[in-house]
Symmetry: C2
DNA sequence: TGATTATACTTGACTGAGTCAAGTAATTGT
DNA sequence: ACAATTACTTGACTCAGTCAAGTATAATCA
Protein backbone atom coordinates (compact mmCIF):
# COMPACT_ATOMS: atom_id res chain seq x y z
CA UNK A 1 0.00 0.00 0.00
CA UNK A 2 1.45 3.34 -1.09
CA UNK A 3 0.85 5.90 1.60
CA UNK A 4 3.68 8.22 0.66
CA UNK A 5 1.41 10.42 -1.41
CA UNK A 6 -1.08 10.43 1.44
CA UNK A 7 1.68 11.69 3.72
CA UNK A 8 2.42 14.56 1.38
CA UNK A 9 -1.27 15.42 1.11
CA UNK A 10 -1.78 15.38 4.85
CA UNK A 11 1.29 17.56 5.40
CA UNK A 12 0.00 20.00 2.82
CA UNK A 13 -3.33 20.16 4.62
CA UNK A 14 -1.56 20.64 7.93
CA UNK A 15 0.38 23.60 6.56
CA UNK A 16 -2.81 25.05 5.18
CA UNK A 17 -4.85 24.56 8.32
CA UNK A 18 -2.05 25.88 10.52
CA UNK A 19 -2.44 29.14 8.65
CA UNK A 20 -6.19 29.10 9.11
CA UNK A 21 -5.80 28.59 12.85
CA UNK A 22 -3.13 31.26 12.99
CA UNK A 23 -5.43 33.79 11.38
CA UNK A 24 -8.27 32.94 13.73
CA UNK A 25 -5.96 33.21 16.74
CA UNK A 26 -4.84 36.65 15.64
CA UNK A 27 -8.31 38.02 16.04
CA UNK A 28 -8.59 36.67 19.57
CA UNK A 29 -5.13 37.95 20.46
CA UNK A 30 -6.33 41.45 19.60
CA UNK A 31 -8.42 41.27 22.76
CA UNK A 32 -5.26 41.68 24.83
CA UNK A 33 -5.51 38.21 26.32
CA UNK A 34 -3.04 35.50 25.46
CA UNK A 35 -4.32 32.19 24.14
CA UNK A 36 -3.41 30.56 27.45
CA UNK A 37 -5.42 33.17 29.33
CA UNK A 38 -8.38 32.69 27.02
CA UNK A 39 -8.29 28.95 27.54
CA UNK A 40 -8.11 29.36 31.31
CA UNK A 41 -10.98 31.81 31.30
CA UNK A 42 -13.01 29.37 29.25
CA UNK A 43 -12.36 26.59 31.75
CA UNK A 44 -13.33 28.71 34.72
CA UNK A 45 -16.50 29.68 32.93
CA UNK A 46 -17.34 26.14 31.82
CA UNK A 47 -16.51 24.26 35.02
CA UNK A 48 -18.50 26.41 37.38
CA UNK A 49 -16.81 26.80 40.72
CA UNK A 50 -13.74 24.65 40.34
CA UNK A 51 -10.20 24.38 41.72
CA UNK A 52 -6.99 25.23 39.88
CA UNK A 53 -6.28 21.52 39.96
CA UNK A 54 -9.34 20.83 37.79
CA UNK A 55 -8.13 23.26 35.17
CA UNK A 56 -4.66 21.76 35.25
CA UNK A 57 -6.11 18.35 34.51
CA UNK A 58 -8.02 19.62 31.50
CA UNK A 59 -5.48 21.94 30.02
CA UNK A 60 -1.88 20.99 29.44
CA UNK A 61 -0.45 23.82 31.46
CA UNK A 62 2.31 24.32 34.00
CA UNK A 63 1.16 24.56 37.59
CA UNK A 64 3.06 27.75 38.35
CA UNK A 65 2.05 29.36 35.11
CA UNK A 66 -1.60 28.63 35.80
CA UNK A 67 -1.30 29.99 39.32
CA UNK A 68 0.02 33.27 37.96
CA UNK A 69 -2.65 33.54 35.30
CA UNK A 70 -5.38 32.94 37.85
CA UNK A 71 -3.98 35.42 40.35
CA UNK A 72 -3.64 37.93 37.56
CA UNK A 73 -7.33 37.45 36.82
CA UNK A 74 -8.13 37.81 40.49
CA UNK A 75 -6.17 41.07 40.61
CA UNK A 76 -8.10 42.31 37.60
CA UNK A 77 -11.30 41.19 39.32
CA UNK A 78 -12.29 38.86 36.54
CA UNK A 79 -12.14 35.75 38.71
CA UNK A 80 -13.36 35.29 42.27
CA UNK A 81 -11.31 33.01 44.47
CA UNK A 82 -12.57 31.73 47.80
CA UNK A 83 -10.88 29.18 49.96
CA UNK A 84 -12.67 25.87 50.02
CA UNK A 85 -14.07 25.17 53.48
CA UNK A 86 -13.71 21.43 53.04
CA UNK A 87 -10.10 21.54 51.81
CA UNK A 88 -8.24 24.68 52.72
CA UNK A 89 -5.48 23.98 50.22
CA UNK A 90 -7.92 24.56 47.41
CA UNK A 91 -9.82 27.59 46.23
CA UNK A 92 -13.15 27.81 44.47
CA UNK A 93 -12.76 29.71 41.26
CA UNK A 94 -15.55 31.37 39.34
CA UNK A 95 -16.02 34.27 36.98
CA UNK A 96 -17.17 37.58 38.38
CA UNK A 97 -19.72 39.66 36.49
CA UNK A 98 -16.84 41.53 34.96
CA UNK A 99 -15.18 38.23 34.12
CA UNK A 100 -18.32 37.07 32.35
CA UNK A 101 -18.31 40.23 30.29
CA UNK A 102 -14.66 39.68 29.37
CA UNK A 103 -15.46 36.10 28.48
CA UNK A 104 -18.41 37.11 26.33
CA UNK A 105 -16.20 39.56 24.51
CA UNK A 106 -13.62 36.84 23.80
CA UNK A 107 -16.37 34.50 22.74
CA UNK A 108 -17.77 37.08 20.40
CA UNK A 109 -14.36 37.79 18.85
CA UNK A 110 -13.83 34.10 18.26
CA UNK A 111 -17.26 33.75 16.71
CA UNK A 112 -16.78 36.74 14.48
CA UNK A 113 -13.54 35.39 13.09
CA UNK A 114 -15.21 32.08 12.32
CA UNK A 115 -18.02 33.93 10.62
CA UNK A 116 -15.44 35.71 8.52
CA UNK A 117 -14.09 32.34 7.51
CA UNK A 118 -17.53 31.29 6.30
CA UNK A 119 -18.48 34.61 4.79
CA UNK A 120 -17.88 33.67 1.19
CA UNK A 121 -19.60 30.28 1.50
CA UNK A 122 -23.20 29.42 0.69
CA UNK A 123 -25.34 27.64 3.26
CA UNK A 124 -24.89 24.48 1.24
CA UNK A 125 -21.12 24.86 1.36
CA UNK A 126 -21.10 25.53 5.09
CA UNK A 127 -23.02 22.29 5.54
CA UNK A 128 -20.48 20.44 3.43
CA UNK A 129 -17.58 22.00 5.31
CA UNK A 130 -18.93 20.80 8.61
CA UNK A 131 -19.60 17.31 7.34
CA UNK A 132 -16.00 17.08 6.16
CA UNK A 133 -14.79 18.26 9.54
CA UNK A 134 -16.92 15.69 11.34
CA UNK A 135 -15.62 12.97 9.07
CA UNK A 136 -12.01 13.90 9.71
CA UNK A 137 -12.62 13.98 13.41
CA UNK A 138 -14.22 10.56 13.33
CA UNK A 139 -11.38 9.12 11.32
CA UNK A 140 -8.63 10.51 13.52
CA UNK A 141 -10.21 10.60 16.94
CA UNK A 142 -9.57 7.13 18.22
CA UNK A 143 -9.08 6.09 21.80
CA UNK A 144 -5.74 6.91 23.55
CA UNK A 145 -4.21 3.65 22.16
CA UNK A 146 -5.80 0.41 23.19
CA UNK B 1 -29.76 31.29 7.90
CA UNK B 2 -28.62 29.83 11.20
CA UNK B 3 -24.87 29.61 11.23
CA UNK B 4 -24.49 29.63 14.98
CA UNK B 5 -24.38 25.86 15.16
CA UNK B 6 -21.85 25.86 12.32
CA UNK B 7 -19.68 28.20 14.38
CA UNK B 8 -19.76 25.82 17.30
CA UNK B 9 -18.93 22.86 15.06
CA UNK B 10 -16.03 24.64 13.42
CA UNK B 11 -14.65 25.70 16.77
CA UNK B 12 -14.90 22.13 18.01
CA UNK B 13 -13.01 20.95 14.95
CA UNK B 14 -10.40 23.64 15.49
CA UNK B 15 -9.82 22.53 19.06
CA UNK B 16 -9.54 18.96 17.89
CA UNK B 17 -7.19 19.69 15.03
CA UNK B 18 -5.03 21.95 17.17
CA UNK B 19 -4.35 18.91 19.29
CA UNK B 20 -3.53 16.82 16.25
CA UNK B 21 -1.04 19.42 15.04
CA UNK B 22 0.40 19.74 18.52
CA UNK B 23 1.06 16.02 18.71
CA UNK B 24 2.69 15.97 15.29
CA UNK B 25 4.87 18.95 16.20
CA UNK B 26 6.05 17.19 19.32
CA UNK B 27 7.68 14.46 17.32
CA UNK B 28 9.57 16.97 15.19
CA UNK B 29 10.61 18.95 18.25
CA UNK B 30 12.28 15.82 19.58
CA UNK B 31 14.88 16.35 16.84
CA UNK B 32 16.31 19.24 18.81
CA UNK B 33 15.32 21.80 16.20
CA UNK B 34 12.61 24.36 16.85
CA UNK B 35 9.71 24.64 14.45
CA UNK B 36 11.13 27.90 13.16
CA UNK B 37 14.47 26.26 12.49
CA UNK B 38 12.79 23.39 10.70
CA UNK B 39 10.84 25.77 8.50
CA UNK B 40 13.98 27.73 7.66
CA UNK B 41 15.89 24.58 6.84
CA UNK B 42 13.06 23.50 4.59
CA UNK B 43 13.17 26.80 2.72
CA UNK B 44 16.91 26.65 2.23
CA UNK B 45 16.56 23.13 0.92
CA UNK B 46 13.60 23.92 -1.33
CA UNK B 47 14.80 27.22 -2.79
CA UNK B 48 18.22 26.08 -3.88
CA UNK B 49 20.83 28.78 -3.44
CA UNK B 50 18.80 31.70 -2.16
CA UNK B 51 19.21 34.84 -0.07
CA UNK B 52 17.90 35.39 3.43
CA UNK B 53 15.54 37.90 1.87
CA UNK B 54 13.86 35.15 -0.15
CA UNK B 55 13.18 33.15 2.99
CA UNK B 56 11.85 36.21 4.76
CA UNK B 57 9.37 36.74 1.97
CA UNK B 58 8.08 33.19 2.18
CA UNK B 59 8.02 32.72 5.91
CA UNK B 60 6.53 35.19 8.28
CA UNK B 61 9.65 35.67 10.33
CA UNK B 62 11.54 38.54 11.90
CA UNK B 63 14.62 39.66 10.02
CA UNK B 64 16.93 39.54 13.03
CA UNK B 65 15.57 36.24 14.20
CA UNK B 66 16.12 34.72 10.79
CA UNK B 67 19.65 36.11 10.65
CA UNK B 68 20.46 34.41 13.92
CA UNK B 69 18.93 31.10 12.91
CA UNK B 70 20.89 31.10 9.67
CA UNK B 71 24.17 32.00 11.32
CA UNK B 72 23.55 29.31 13.88
CA UNK B 73 23.17 26.84 11.03
CA UNK B 74 26.34 28.16 9.44
CA UNK B 75 28.19 27.68 12.74
CA UNK B 76 26.91 24.12 12.91
CA UNK B 77 27.96 23.66 9.30
CA UNK B 78 24.49 22.79 8.11
CA UNK B 79 24.22 25.77 5.79
CA UNK B 80 26.83 27.20 3.45
CA UNK B 81 26.84 30.95 3.06
CA UNK B 82 28.79 32.68 0.31
CA UNK B 83 28.65 36.33 -0.52
CA UNK B 84 26.88 37.04 -3.76
CA UNK B 85 29.33 38.46 -6.34
CA UNK B 86 26.59 40.47 -8.02
CA UNK B 87 25.22 42.01 -4.81
CA UNK B 88 27.62 42.01 -1.92
CA UNK B 89 24.85 42.75 0.57
CA UNK B 90 23.40 39.32 -0.06
CA UNK B 91 24.66 35.82 0.58
CA UNK B 92 23.87 32.64 -1.27
CA UNK B 93 22.52 30.06 1.12
CA UNK B 94 22.41 26.33 0.53
CA UNK B 95 22.48 23.15 2.56
CA UNK B 96 25.78 21.38 3.10
CA UNK B 97 25.93 17.59 2.90
CA UNK B 98 25.53 17.58 6.65
CA UNK B 99 22.62 19.95 6.33
CA UNK B 100 20.93 17.64 3.85
CA UNK B 101 21.31 14.79 6.30
CA UNK B 102 19.78 16.89 9.07
CA UNK B 103 16.97 17.85 6.74
CA UNK B 104 16.32 14.25 5.74
CA UNK B 105 16.16 13.32 9.39
CA UNK B 106 13.58 16.04 10.08
CA UNK B 107 11.66 14.98 7.01
CA UNK B 108 11.65 11.41 8.14
CA UNK B 109 10.48 12.33 11.63
CA UNK B 110 7.62 14.35 10.19
CA UNK B 111 6.66 11.51 7.88
CA UNK B 112 6.77 8.96 10.65
CA UNK B 113 4.45 10.97 12.82
CA UNK B 114 1.99 11.28 9.97
CA UNK B 115 2.21 7.57 9.41
CA UNK B 116 1.40 7.08 13.06
CA UNK B 117 -1.67 9.19 12.55
CA UNK B 118 -2.83 6.91 9.75
CA UNK B 119 -1.74 3.69 11.37
CA UNK B 120 -5.16 2.59 12.49
CA UNK B 121 -6.86 3.48 9.20
CA UNK B 122 -7.56 1.23 6.25
CA UNK B 123 -6.45 2.25 2.77
CA UNK B 124 -10.04 3.12 2.04
CA UNK B 125 -10.20 5.36 5.08
CA UNK B 126 -6.94 7.09 4.23
CA UNK B 127 -8.37 7.88 0.82
CA UNK B 128 -11.50 9.31 2.42
CA UNK B 129 -9.45 11.35 4.88
CA UNK B 130 -7.50 12.98 2.09
CA UNK B 131 -10.59 13.72 0.06
CA UNK B 132 -12.12 15.46 3.09
CA UNK B 133 -8.94 17.48 3.54
CA UNK B 134 -8.92 18.50 -0.10
CA UNK B 135 -12.55 19.54 0.12
CA UNK B 136 -11.95 21.68 3.18
CA UNK B 137 -8.97 23.31 1.55
CA UNK B 138 -10.98 24.10 -1.56
CA UNK B 139 -13.82 25.55 0.48
CA UNK B 140 -11.61 27.76 2.62
CA UNK B 141 -8.73 28.61 0.34
CA UNK B 142 -10.02 31.61 -1.52
CA UNK B 143 -8.00 34.47 -2.87
CA UNK B 144 -6.57 37.08 -0.43
CA UNK B 145 -9.85 39.08 -0.65
CA UNK B 146 -10.92 40.38 -3.99
C1' DT C 1 28.85 62.61 -10.59
C1' DG C 2 27.73 62.81 -6.10
C1' DA C 3 24.15 63.03 -2.76
C1' DT C 4 20.11 60.84 -1.18
C1' DT C 5 17.43 56.99 -0.48
C1' DA C 6 16.57 52.16 -0.24
C1' DT C 7 17.98 47.42 0.61
C1' DA C 8 20.42 43.25 2.92
C1' DC C 9 22.04 41.74 6.76
C1' DT C 10 23.76 42.10 11.78
C1' DT C 11 23.62 43.06 16.57
C1' DG C 12 22.23 44.36 21.23
C1' DA C 13 18.70 45.05 24.24
C1' DC C 14 14.47 43.66 25.44
C1' DT C 15 9.70 41.35 26.34
C1' DG C 16 6.87 37.79 27.59
C1' DA C 17 5.49 32.94 27.42
C1' DG C 18 6.34 29.01 29.57
C1' DT C 19 9.44 25.82 32.69
C1' DC C 20 11.58 24.15 36.92
C1' DA C 21 12.27 23.49 41.47
C1' DA C 22 12.00 24.75 46.13
C1' DG C 23 8.83 26.31 49.70
C1' DT C 24 4.40 26.53 52.56
C1' DA C 25 0.31 24.84 54.25
C1' DA C 26 -3.20 21.46 54.51
C1' DT C 27 -4.66 16.60 54.06
C1' DT C 28 -4.40 11.60 54.02
C1' DG C 29 -2.83 7.15 55.45
C1' DT C 30 -0.71 4.17 58.87
C1' DA D 1 1.69 11.28 65.73
C1' DC D 2 4.42 11.05 61.78
C1' DA D 3 5.37 10.25 56.98
C1' DA D 4 3.91 10.88 52.56
C1' DT D 5 0.98 13.27 49.38
C1' DT D 6 -1.51 17.11 47.48
C1' DA D 7 -2.72 22.16 46.32
C1' DC D 8 -1.00 26.18 45.49
C1' DT D 9 2.80 29.89 45.41
C1' DT D 10 7.08 32.02 44.31
C1' DG D 11 11.62 33.12 42.48
C1' DA D 12 14.82 32.27 39.18
C1' DC D 13 15.42 31.04 34.79
C1' DT D 14 15.34 29.84 29.56
C1' DC D 15 14.25 30.64 25.07
C1' DA D 16 11.44 32.21 21.20
C1' DG D 17 10.48 36.11 19.03
C1' DT D 18 10.44 41.50 18.58
C1' DC D 19 12.36 46.08 17.92
C1' DA D 20 15.42 49.42 16.69
C1' DA D 21 19.83 51.09 15.69
C1' DG D 22 24.04 50.20 13.02
C1' DT D 23 26.97 48.86 8.83
C1' DA D 24 27.74 48.04 4.22
C1' DT D 25 26.25 47.91 -0.43
C1' DA D 26 23.25 49.17 -4.27
C1' DA D 27 19.89 51.97 -6.77
C1' DT D 28 17.91 56.43 -7.91
C1' DC D 29 18.07 60.81 -9.70
C1' DA D 30 19.02 65.83 -9.73
Amino acid sequence: MDRSQAILDIRAFNRFYTNVLFLLDQSVLKSGYSLAEARVMYEVKANGPCAARDIMNRLNIDEGYLSRILNHFVAKELVLKTQSPTDKRQYHLRLSARGRRAYDMLESLANQSIQGLMSHLSDQEVGDLIRHMHSITELLDHEPTE
